[in-house]
């Protein structure tokens, strides 16, 4: 087991190194000069050249990469060209917002998706089932950002307490305020800002969870122990909630884990639409501004979170299910 873990950690480091090389190459291959972009349509060639020299962008690319890697290994991801702030600060400002949105979207998806899936399974082949399956199919198919735009122009414009854009204060902070001082106003403000973006992002996941819950519940309901319980005269709803659902939810838990990783970088367009100050926006802006240090640093950070999460998931499998062995 220890050998396995060490092996995985080594592989993880190689992966991250590979990510940094690929991102470095891609960003430097992109036509466009960060200084020129920064100075805009009225840039003067003299200024472009002077600033490139001052920032050291006239050095050979391998030299730039090695010097970046050297500082990165010491925990310094460099300074943004455009924003003149440390890359780590920029990431630290955004990551909580992105995580907050991802968690909220997943929570919504689970809260709505599981009951819908159970309902569909219990009332299999009835209009309820067909309706919920149709809903989930459409939910998966509709692009998030399109759903977001529609929500904005309809719901946010007609319901006064639902804001159109932006984020309230960090949810954790406002929750803490509520717990310590009993003042619910900031918490409420954070929550109402979170609502629409979370719905826009969560819809497709909800749809996925609905389908998954339904199919795996149907599967479990056919299994022997459930049949036995039913035969013993245990009430139908008890069978489902106590016996079947618990077993049916394992794949749902897995999909939630996978989706969380995907959401960290995948909600970009939704972040743009709702002016949500997340990391996806930071990266997209930085790619278009050719702000190399920020792109490298933040994609590397997301990749690190992703591979670490995967490692933890795999390890936890071996704990949950002792049949999986790594030898």
């Amino acid at each position: 087991m220890l050998k396995y873990v060490l092996n995985r950690v080594f592989g993880l480091l190689i992966t991250l190194l590979g990510v940094s090389v690929i991102v470095f190459m891609l960003v430097h291959m992109s036509p466009g000069d960060p200084i020129r972009i920064m100075l805009g349509e009225q840039a003067r060639p003299d200024d472009v050249e002077r600033l490139n020299r001052l920032y050291g962008f006239d050095r050979p690319l391998p030299v730039q990469y090695v010097s970046w890697l050297g500082s990165a290994l010491q925990g310094d991801l460099g300074t943004s060209i455009r924003q003149q702030a440390p890359v780590l600060t920029l990431i630290a400002e955004r990551l909580p917002a992105t995580i907050e949105l991802a968690v909220a979207a997943l929570l919504l998806a689970v809260i709505a998706g599981i009951p819908l899936g159970v309902l569909a399974a219990v009332y299999r082949n009835t209009p309820i089932d067909i309706a919920s399956m149709f809903l989930s199919l459409v939910g998966v198919a509709a692009p998030n950002f399109w759903v977001g735009l529609l929500l904005l122009s309809t719901v946010a414009m007609s319901v006064t307490w639902i804001p159109v854009f932006g984020r309230g204060d960090p949810l954790l902070a406002t929750f803490w305020t509520f717990v310590t001082s009993g003042n619910p106003a900031p918490l409420w403000d954070s929550l109402r800002h979170l609502l629409l973006p979370a719905v826009a992002v969560g819809t497709s996941i909800m749809a996925l969870i609905t389908r998954l819950t339904r199919s795996s519940l149907l599967e479990v309901l056919r299994l022997d122990f459930v049949r036995t319980a039913t035969a013993k005269g245990v009430h139908n709803s008890t069978v489902i909630s106590k016996h079947a659902l618990r077993n049916a939810l394992l794949p749902v838990v897995t999909i939630v884990g996978v989706q969380f990783g995907a959401l960290l970088g995948g909600a970009i367009v939704t972040e743009v639409v709702f002016a949500w100050p997340g990391i996806g926006r930071l990266i997209v802006d930085s790619i278009s501004q050719r702000d190399f240090p920020v792109v490298q640093g933040s994609i590397l950070m997301l990749a690190a979170v992703f591979v670490l999460a995967n490692l933890l998931v795999d390890l936890s499998y071996s704990l949950i299910n002792p049949r999986i062995r790594y030898d």
Binding site: S30, P31, G32, D33, R36, I37, M38, L39, G40, E41, Q42, A43, R44, P45, D46, D47, V48, R50, L51, L54, Y55, R82, Q83, Q84, A85, L90, E93, R94, A97, L149, L152, S153, A156, M157, T160, P163, V164, F165, G166, R167, V272, V273, F274, A275, P277, G278, R281, L282, S288, Q289, R290
Partner: protein, 499 residues
Amino acid sequence: MKLSRILIALLACLLAGSVLGQRLIVGTVAEASDLDPRTTYDVYSYQRMYPIMEPLIVLDTDLGYRPRLAHSWDFAEDGSQVTFYLREGVRFHHGREFTADDVKYTFDWVLNPENPAANPGLYEDIELVEVVDPYTVTFHLTGENAFILNYIARLHIVPADLGDDPSFGSAPVGTGAFEFVSWSRDDRMILKAFEEYWDGRAKVDEVEFRPITEDSTRLLAFEAGELDIYHGQVVPAEVPRLEGDDRFVVQRVTGLGHAYLGFNLRNEELAKPEVRHAFSHLLPREAIVERVYEGVGTVGTGPISPDTAFYNPDIPTYEYDPELARELLEQAGVEGLTLRLHTKENPVRMQIAEVLQFEAANIGIDVEIHIEEFGAFIDRIMDTDTADFDIFILGWSGNVDPNYAMYELFHSAGGSNFIAYGNPDLDELLETGRRLPPDSEESVAVYKEAQAILMADAPFAFINNTEEVGLNQSWISGWEIHPYTSATYQDLHLIEKKR
């Protein structure tokens, strides 16, 4: 009875709260990159800087000069120096008094080639900054650029004791009406009223800048009452509707920029004036302004804004006339032409490109549209070694003087002359113009002649003159949008919010 009394008390508290803590919410088109006036270039950073820091003088909304940190100034007889007399008793937010040393520090920093200043070229004309006494500072000039005051009016004074702090740009200190409080990027920047502001405390207590890059989202947020004011990138298609809504005030003022088609004169077909004239006649400017811009802005007539004294109203314009365009092409002996049209990803410019493509196809010219991301696009246009383009759409803004509007673009040695245009007569006029006193008749005459030459050569086809659009809620008063976009919040302390 008791309950209602409690309710009334609660309500009173709420009302009192909102009266005591008025916070102005300002929507902006993009996040600031940095708040150091010396190293920053973009409009959205400057918009946030104006309330925090101040230049010696500012441009008024009619583009005249107005005193700010300097209460008056005068030029030496021969124009070789300009002296500013500073206000006394002005304090920076950290308490120290503002003096001539801060002025010298700021300008010296920008002129030092070792420092990463964004635009030192504008200040090349300054030879030396001399501190005469704490409240008097003299700039010694080379006389190469008579419009130097316009550029001095764009540089905010940085406190000498804090300016070298590497974090200055993310938490600046100035003499402005608002103190910097906090900034979480892409989310919000908060400023609070500076109690000791020399021109009187601001009428609101706090200002919150909210960047919203999506034009549609920003407008929806404004309509929902979540933003008090915003300036710039108002979707043209929505302007007529907003103007008919009495909850909102739509402010419009002639802008200082234009969009144009640039023709690469290295292309042998585009080098023929007839071909360029043909394209200029192909451009349905009125339809574009009327429909694509929904009447925001005016038909493009040249590089100089029609509202300024330097504008030449006697130069011929290019009317939309596809038949004439076809004849011009025949005259030039051009057939079966295929040209690339480059533009950046911008909804309005893409629409203009498609309009031109459509018009050109009607007279047998094949225009291929190449839409590129800004970085790739600007590299293509600005890289004079490869010059791999035929026609492009670009804009030029901030034209507070004719030198700024013409020199870099049309002088054969101009830094932004990407199309290899050159006319010795025009070069000479542009060089003469920048040495003449800006308010002289000679200066106006020189630039009028320059425009006549330019319009005949037609290296550009001017599409439109911009118009600035600002929106504010009816509960906001005391805000006047500025034709110079960066300065639109320079008098933020005069704005009142009654809600």
